[in-house]
Symmetry: C7
Subunit: 104 residues, 7 copies
């Protein structure tokens, strides 16, 4: 989805949505040779940029989300809403769609 | 959906519905050249015009909506109910369908 | 659905159902020329004629409906149950299917 | 569904089921001329013959049904379970499937 | 479903299941003439043989079933699980699938 | 599903799962003649080998399962998860999928 | 799903997710002969490597998962999210998708 945003930091996810940016695979081999982009497999890792205030449970109470800005996470292969700011692509997931935190 | 409305301000969304108007992309380049409308990508941004009183939770209590008139929001690429007032087009979304607030 | 009703006022919607009648578009232009019916776009506006007592929440309590007889409302393009009384057509919607109230 | 019942009055609907019999359209015009059955539109009206004790809410409490024997109701064009007693046809609806009461 | 059961009485339905046996239509006319089985319409009536202890509501409490052994009931035209004991066929329904009790 | 298990007794079903083994139909007639396996109808009966601790209700409390090891049960014609240990086949059902207990 | 992870131990499953690694079937017969990989049936067994903190029940309380790291479990033939770390493949399941614990 195209936007006129100048800065992704202006985006404040609503409810239980999590804004992430996919981490790019190295396009350079260990020995320093550059690989063509098409031969690089897409990674399922992303960096959390912003998190929503949490969804509402059946009593109208906020349910805190599981991750925080800066977290590195494992994302599902499909789903999420793509957001384009300039040439960069970002994705919005629901909190429960994220698979795991990466502590590395 | 065609209407006989004279003014979009007469529309009061029901329950958790949010009335928005999509923000148009600039049809003029930075250097002042006008672009043909067809070459301009549709933006996923909208301005909130009016909000419903909120849906009802399982105990019949109102659940406040997440946005307010004047907010700029990121909208999903599909869904919502189109409303036409004169030549202008508007859309009604459910509150939880809106993706993010834009603070810019 | 055909009925033998003599008067639409005899119809008392059950639970959260709302009886409405679609508002007809003017078939006369501002300058007084009559348009053929087929060239007139169907409007998404309706007048509320009668409302049900409200559905029941999970504790068996009535949940009041959002509109009242006389209200002008924006209706969805599809759905509802058609009712025919004589030559007139009416529609029954569930309360949550109505999109907005029109205050004009 | 065929039955060996001698009398429809023996049928006691279970839970929130409502036993109705569709009202036949007049096959005689106002001026007394008889119409062939095939030219008579099927009506969406029915007479309530018997009602179940009501379904159970999540706490096991009975939820009273919305109509009572003798009521005239507007029924949906599809759905319900047909019951045949002798040559007569009846239908069983769930309470929430009935559209409106007819007070005429 | 074939079984090695010697006696249908050994079958104790679980949760909200109801074991019934369909009532056969008379294959003899009122005047005593026997009809070929194929010309006899299948009846939607059944005799309740055994009932389960009831399903569990959301608090783990038993929800009593609506019928008891010996009851004659109206069954839906489809659904249920067939059980074969010797040459006899039986059916297991969930309690809420039964349509009506027959008091005749 | 193939496994490397040496003994089916090592399998402890999780939540509301029930481990059963289908009972084989006699391949010998009453008069002692052996029938080819293909002419023997598959039975819908099974022996319960192990039961899970029970699923969790909405308050996180265990909901006891309806059967216990040793019980003979009527199983549905489809569904369940097959488990193979050596040459033997077993099936895991959810508790509510079992149809009836067999007391014979 | 490809990842840039150096160590699977960096992966901390979210909510009720369970990280497992499928157990390989022996590719050597009892008598020590090696079998070609293709002739070895895939096993439905896996070792639990890490577990999430548990999902949230309707009151926002954690629901503990059923297994712990080190447990050997029976996994369903389909489903789960594959994760690749170097040449190794892992799978993330929801807790309720695991079929049984293996105590052997």
């Amino acid at each position: 989805m195209a936007t006129s945003l100048r800065n992704i930091k202006s985006l404040a996810p609503l409810l239980d949505r999590i804004l992430v940016q996919r981490i790019r695979a190295d396009t350079k081999t260990a020995s320093g040779i550059f690989l063509p982009e098409s031969s690089v497999e897409k990674l399922s890792e992303a960096r959390v940029l912003a998190v929503g205030p949490g969804g509402l449970d059946k009593d109208g109470k906020r349910v805190e989300v599981s991750v925080k800005p800066g977290d590195r996470v494992l994302i599902p292969p499909f789903g999420g809403s793509a957001v384009k700011v300039g040439e960069e692509e970002y994705t919005l997931f629901r909190d429960h769609e994220l698979l795991a935190k990466i502590n590395e």
